[in-house]
Amino acid sequence: MPLLAVNDLRTYFHTRNGVHRAVDGVSFALEKGETVGIVGESGSGKSVTCYSIMGLVPQPPGRIESGTAMFDGIDLLRCPPRVARSIRGRRLAMIFQDPMTSLNPYLRISEQLIEPLIIHEKISKAAALRRGQEMLEAVGINDAAKRLHHYPHEFSGGMRQRVMIATALITRPELLIADEPTTALDVTVQAQILELIRRLQREFGMAVIFITHDLGVVSGLCDRVLVMYAGRIVESGDVRTIFYQPRHPYTRALQRSIPSTQPKGAELFTIPGLPPDLSRLPAGCAFAPRCESATDLCRRQDPALRELAPGHATACLRVQAGEI
């Protein structure tokens, strides 16, 4: 049984301008200890997918229209709030892009670090502080005994991200969801944080969902990759398949537009047009208006995500028909 199985998740936002289909029928599964990357541009629904699992979608305007998210046999979307709370923050943790806005500036690191322990494990404050100090040491913060009592503003960006990782991992979760945790950091600091996530994953044996728009980060870190476009998964497969034999035209176009994969001075490949407005999605395939291989059928019929080979699925009618 997979650790997490998301099936047909639909999260819509009901706004004055209509229904915004942020996540529109997403299904995937994650095994224990596995690392899955979710890539896509802004607005593709990668963050909202994870927010839905974590119960962080503001309702209203958001609403989870359908779907299940089975975590170890419990449906996180339908179970009683008390049960969900006992899982989220303990067995399931999340870290965010901006460590400055996700740590409370008024509280010392110690308070924020041990809060999950006090809530979930009901241990004494002294014992929790000892664990907090160990955790800070584990994420590579020197002089942890003293640093424990500092405020977030006393840390640099990279150090704050380490603190946030420590806060998320202090309960030894089985699954960590990382939402662009290195996007706000310099490349050298990014390399440190990625190394840290890799090491902690080995030590704790946890599974990771890594959300990013940076294909380079995914290539080194993830076992499997889900590519999202306009609220759906358009291609999924193991990392080598996605990078070396991508089939969906969007995945291929995305890779071709990275500067480092193109010769110097050459015109960069660009995807024409813009991502669609999620409250006015076109009929048929959402990528069709920007796709160089689209046919009339693509503009009429919705493509389903189908397996081409074991573990490699794509949602493109023309690929499925063997035409491209």
Binding site: E41, S42, S156, G157, G158, M159, D186, V187, T188, V189, Q190, A191, Q192, L194, E195, H213, D214, L215, G216, V217, V218, S219, G220, V239, R240, F243, Y244, A253, L254, Q255, S257, I258, P259, S260, T261, Q262, K264, G265, E267, L268, F269, T270, I271, L274
Partner: protein
């Protein structure tokens, strides 16, 4: 070689740090830019890279005279900006324009595209009022926007389109040099490529010089002729783009290059990465000698003694490392 269009000599931008409300006293100096010398040729793209806090944005602002230089000279097309009067500086701004990182913040939400593009032309009186509309339409076409959107406001455009408007505004005065500070960092990959193509095309067509500031080395390599790497207010390596990225010589450049993740799973897993320990030091209290020595794997006692000068090495590039010849070879490893 002809005279450079823009030349910086030993430019320093220092900010005093004060403490105390009643007995205010200076307790230190942030040396944001600390002795930068550079020359940019007409039609050249110079990439400027470094981590946050290395002084690359302050250098851009100093060149534009948005913050005064503490020391040194900045010569634009033969005119020394650091010694110029306010009127002369204003006049030279025509030749020197800037594009900022965030197109959501750099455009006035209450000005239409037309107003944003017409304003610089009217301020600098570069054409008769009657000609302005025609010129605005021309500019919009140049950056790939339909002139019929002239009366729209910034919020009606996507991020990429807004960045096109910001580029058009920079071009309104027919400048000779454009400084673009992280112009694609806030954009998605597919849109980023569109803006990079646009900038490259404009440089070619209008014989512009471009100073392209970014922290993403693959983007910088793609667009630049030469690259300057900054660390703590100083240039530590300067050379042809391909040399600097493919065969970096300064230990800091090597670490920086090795930290870029590549979109190739096998190569990414196989390669040896130099993970720098710690954060960049504070410019308020920089280490003695070479500022990089506390994080440098090649540092020796002598590196702590004196600030290494930026010196030309055999292949023509300049490197500020006294051990550069001793540690040669080994690529990025």
């Amino acid at each position: 070689m002809s005279d450079p269009i823009l030349e910086l000599k030993n430019v320093k931008t220092h900010f005093p740090v004060h403490r105390g409300l009643v007995f205010r006293r200076q307790v230190g100096t942030v040396k944001a830019v600390d002795g930068v010398s550079l020359a940019v040729q007409q039609g050249e793209v110079l990439g400027l890279v470094g981590e946050s806090g290395c002084g690359k944005s302050t250098l851009a602002r100093t060149i534009l005279q948005l913050v005064p230089a503490t020391e040194g000279t900045i010569v634009l097309a033969g005119r020394n900006l650091t010694a110029a009067s306010a009127a002369e500086v204003k006049a030279s701004r025509r030749a020197l324009q800037m594009v900022f990182q965030d197109p959501y913040a750099s455009l006035n939400p209450r000005m239409t595209v037309f107003a944003a593009l017409a304003e610089p032309m009217l301020v600098h009186k570069i054409c008769a009022r009657a000609e302005v509309a025609g010129r605005v339409a021309e500019l919009m076409k140049k950056v790939g926007l339909a002139p019929r959107f002239m009366k729209k406001y910034p919020h009606e455009f996507s991020g990429g389109q807004r960045q096109r408007i910001a580029v058009a505004r920079a071009l309104a005065l027919q400048p000779k040099v454009i400084i673009a500070d992280e112009p694609v960092s806030a954009l998605d990959v597919s849109v980023q490529a569109q803006i990079l193509n646009l900038l490259a095309q404009l440089v070619r067509e209008m014989d512009l010089s471009l100073i392209f500031i970014a922290h993403d080395l693959s983007v910088v390599k793609h667009i630049s002729d030469r690259i300057a790497v900054m660390y703590l207010g100083k240039i530590v390596e300067l050379g042809r783009a391909a040399d600097v990225i493919e065969r970096p010589r300064h230990p800091y450049t090597r670490a920086l290059v090795s930290a870029i993740p590549t979109p190739d799973p096998d190569a990414e897993r196989a390669r040896h990465r130099i993970v720098l320990a710690g954060d960049p030091p504070s410019p308020l209290n920089p280490p003695a000698g070479c500022a990089f020595h506390p994080r440098c794997r090649y540092a020796e006692e002598k590196c702590k003694a004196a600030v290494p000068p930026l010196e030309r090495i055999a292949d023509g590039r300049e490197v500020a490392c006294i051990r550069v010849e001793e540690i040669a070879g080994g690529g990025t490893a």
